[in-house]
């Protein structure tokens, strides 16, 4: 989810402007009974769309909402506050788990004001993947804090850009102030198997949390 066109994700992402409907190969079977979702959160340019696109069985799609903001009126000599409307787009993909269950992946920036546009984006989500770039760790602090506040379980996936500095996982954990239980995995957001492994890390983590909860 981003201001349209402003994020230099760039790898293999086509504008998902579809007309008409799904391609024949994108049709779900009639047996598809229910869906679950995972939210992929990260700053601009960290590779959310790339990640979603790499693991999705359909070409990533885009849903848009309109956000109305009170403008600061900088361009307005009269000083009258003007309202500006911004179209905010959120990219998403899909993975069929079996004939009955479907998993959707939504890519969203870390700012809470975007989450409200799709009321309950995190409500009912299995969990979240926080995608980070080690060149800009500081942009992740707020996101991690907000997810913790909301009680959304998450794993941290470090998108290993070739030019990004490499850190030891425990150094990253200290830098991000993460509890020992939260998994930190390295990934290549462009590769399907790498993205799948991140999602598996999230599911195994959730599984361990659920098991721990059952034991108490």
């Amino acid at each position: 989810m981003d201001y349209r066109g402003s994020e230099p994700e760039g790898f293999g992402h086509e504008s998902a402007q579809e007309t008409g409907g799904p391609r024949r190969e994108d049709l779900l079977p009639h047996t598809a009974a229910a869906a679950v979702k995972v939210v992929v959160v990260g700053g601009f340019g960290v590779g959310k769309t790339t990640f979603v696109g790499a693991v999705s069985e359909i070409r990533p799609l885009t849903t848009e909402e309109t956000m109305t903001q009170a403008g600061a009126g900088v361009d307005d000599p009269s000083g009258v506050r003007t309202k500006t409307r911004t179209t905010v787009a959120m990219d998403f993909g899909r993975i069929s788990i079996d004939e009955r269950l479907v998993l959707y992946l939504f890519g969203t920036p870390g700012q809470e004001r975007f989450w409200f546009l799709w009321g309950g984006l995190f409500e009912g989500a299995l969990g979240a993947v926080v995608l980070v770039d080690t060149r800009r760790l500081e942009v992740s602090f707020d996101v991690l804090g907000r997810l913790e506040e909301r009680g959304v379980p998450f794993v941290v996936a470090v998108n290993a850009f070739p030019e990004s500095p490499r850190y030891d996982v425990e150094d990253l954990r200290a830098a991000l102030d993460l509890p020992p239980a939260v998994p930190i995995v390295t990934c290549d957001a462009r590769a399907q198997d790498s993205g799948r492994d991140v999602l598996l890390a999230l599911m195994h983590y959730l599984h361990s949390l659920t098991t721990a909860l059952e034991l108490t």
Binding site: E18, T19, G20, G21, P22, L27, L28, P29, H30, A32, A33, A34, A35, V36, K37, V55, L61, T62, T63, E64, E65, T66, R85, T87, F92, R94, I95, S96, I97, D98, L101, V102, L103, Y104, F106, W118, G119, G120, L121, E123, G124, A125, L126, G127, G151, P153, Q192, D193, R196, L199, L200, M203, H204, L206, H207, L209, T210, T211, L213, E214
Partner: protein
């Protein structure tokens, strides 16, 4: 007055006009906040009864699209209409028996183990 107002859904050029006024007209001024919380982003929608000549174009487009299950998010993407608008249209269609809405798997505090195991098995097959 152009022909676009007669029969069939509006052309792609009209879909792109995301003015609040247009969205207000499509939803008949109803808003999603009037209690359709059962319809959400990943609810799966399936057409039960096809459009008839009285069906408004946007609702007809939804009915044509959902001959196989589609999520609300996908409907929004394909029709270039916000999820908030699609939700209102779906609530109406659902009320008339035009669509079946299959709600998402409810998640309590944490997802249950069987669900997670199903997801893990599915991902391992990728």
């Amino acid at each position: 007055m152009t022909d676009q107002h007669h029969g069939g859904p509006p052309g792609p050029d009209l879909w792109d006009e995301e003015t609040p006024e247009r969205l207000y007209v499509i939803t008949g001024g109803r808003s999603a906040s009037t209690g359709h919380r059962s319809i959400e982003l990943v609810s799966l929608v399936v057409t039960q009864a096809g459009p008839d000549p009285m069906t408004p174009p946007e609702q007809a487009a939804i009915l044509r699209l959902c001959t196989t299950p589609l999520s609300v998010a996908e409907i929004s993407a394909y029709l270039h209409l916000p999820v908030s608008v699609i939700t209102v249209l779906l609530a109406e269609l659902q009320g008339r028996g035009g669509v079946q809405v299959r709600g998402p798997v409810p998640i309590a505090v944490l997802p249950d183990r069987e669900l997670l195991e199903a997801v893990i098995n599915g991902l391992q097959r990728l």
